[in-house]
Structure formats: C-alpha cells, structure tokens
C-alpha cells in the first residue's frame, strides 16, 4: 500500500471519469473509458488483488470498450451533451 502511488492514481481516476462523461464525441468517450479501466486494473494490482486486476484488464478494459465502440459505430457518433 504505497501512499503516493495511490493518491496519484486515484486523482487520475477522477479526472478520467469526468472527462469521459463530458466529451461530445462518443468514440473519444469510449477510449477514455478504456483508460479508466486500465487505471483501475493498476490500482488493484498494487493493492494485492491480482485475480481481480486480471479480470478487469480483460473484461472491463478490453471487451467492454470494444462493445461500446461496436455500438457507437452502429448508432450516432456525436452526442448532444
């Protein structure tokens, strides 16, 4: 449990979450959601939860981002807010 590492990653998490929900282009939003997922995987690996980190890296940041992109490309790419 390294204090400075935790603080930096958690601040990045909040920034990534807020940016991902506020950009108007949905494709960029999905990409930043992928960044958010990988940052959470890093945080869990540092906390000692390696199984959860492995699962989040494949499922959360991998497959989930691909599903978002597949849906966005079949619907509209711009959003109004």
């Amino acid at each position: 449990m390294i204090l400075s590492f935790d603080i930096i990653i958690l601040i990045f998490l909040i920034v990534a979450a807020i940016i991902s929900l506020n950009v108007k282009d949905l494709l960029s939003s999905a990409m930043i959601y992928g960044i958010y997922g990988f940052l959470i995987c890093l945080l869990w690996a540092e906390m000692g939860a390696v199984d959860v980190a492995f699962t989040e890296a494949t499922v959360g940041a991998g497959v989930s981002t691909v599903l978002f992109i597949a849906t966005i490309l079949n619907t509209r790419r711009k959003s109004s807010d």
Partner: protein, 167 residues
C-alpha cells in the same frame, strides 16, 4: 498540519475518492441526455463499488493470496514427505476448525501475510455479471436507434408521445 494529515486524511482518503466516483457515475446516469453516456455512467458507478469492496480486504505489508511455499506454510510442523497431507496428523498447535475455539486474532497471526481472498472472489463475479448486463443494455440501445433513429432522451420522449397521440 502533519497530524491532521495523518489522523484524518490518511486512514480514509481513498474512501472519499470512491464516494466521489460513485456520485459522478450517478449524476451522469440521471442527468445526461444521451443513452450511451448513461450506460457509461452506470459502468463507472459499478467499478467504483467494486473498488470499494476490494479495498476492504487490503492488509498492510501483505502479499497476494496465493500460497507460495505451500510445502512449508500450510503444514508447519508436519514432515514434508510421502506421508504428508494426512488430515489426522495435523500438528497440535493448529486447533480443529471450530470457530468458537479458534484462537482470537492475536498479534502476529500467520494469516496476516496474505491479503483477504473473500472480497476478491465476490468481486470477480460482479465484474463479469456487470459486463454481461452492459451487453444487454447496449443491445437495447441499438434496437431503440433502429426504431426511432435517435439516442437522445428528450427527442425520444417527444417521438413516443407523438406515437401515442396518433394511435
């Protein structure tokens, strides 16, 4: 100043961040117009809750919950050899697994070397179920787009109202 930091901020700072993340996700779920942004807010809310659960099992100075030298750890005074792993020959220092007679958590418990595995197990299930329900939600979004040609909530409500007024 330093002792304010050590007494108030250091024990709980990460729980504050998880609450902030949950509220960001919840706000986006209610207030955003686009359906895909709502789904993204839901996903952020879910990961914040999973973060909270997993961080309950963290122990200072502990390693991952995988036994490394499993010959020596689990059978402490037992002779490692061809006749090991008999449950009857457990060493006397390990009492029977009866919760009432288990030693109260004293200092330097040997189990303190490993992180708590139970939250990890529960959250593995939660992550996979979360992505499955995200898939269903995105499929519904695609069908809504096919039917109404928009994904913005206010236009959807107007079109549904117009449908009801006509029919």
């Amino acid at each position: 100043m330093v002792e304010f930091f050590l007494n108030t901020v250091k024990p709980h700072f990460n729980f504050w961040v998880y609450v902030i993340l949950m509220m960001v996700g919840l706000w986006s779920l209610i207030a955003k117009n686009n359906l895909i942004k709502k789904m993204m807010g839901l996903a952020i809310f879910q990961t914040a809750i999973i973060l909270f659960y997993v961080s309950l099992g963290v122990k200072d100075g502990a390693t991952i919950p995988v036994l490394e030298h499993y010959g020596d750890y689990a059978e402490k005074a037992e002779p490692a050899g061809p006749d090991a792993s008999k449950p009857a020959s457990k060493p006397a220092s390990k009492p029977a697994p009866n919760p009432a007679s288990m030693p109260a958590p004293a200092a330097s418990n040997p189990a303190d070397a490993f992180a708590n595995p139970v939250p990890h197990v529960l959250m593995l299930t939660a992550i996979v179920v979360g992505v499955a329900t995200l898939g269903v939600a995105l499929a519904l979004c695609e069908m809504i787009f096919k039917e109404f040609d928009t994904l913005e909530e206010d236009e959807l409500l107007r079109k549904i109202k117009a449908l009801h007024d006509d029919a």
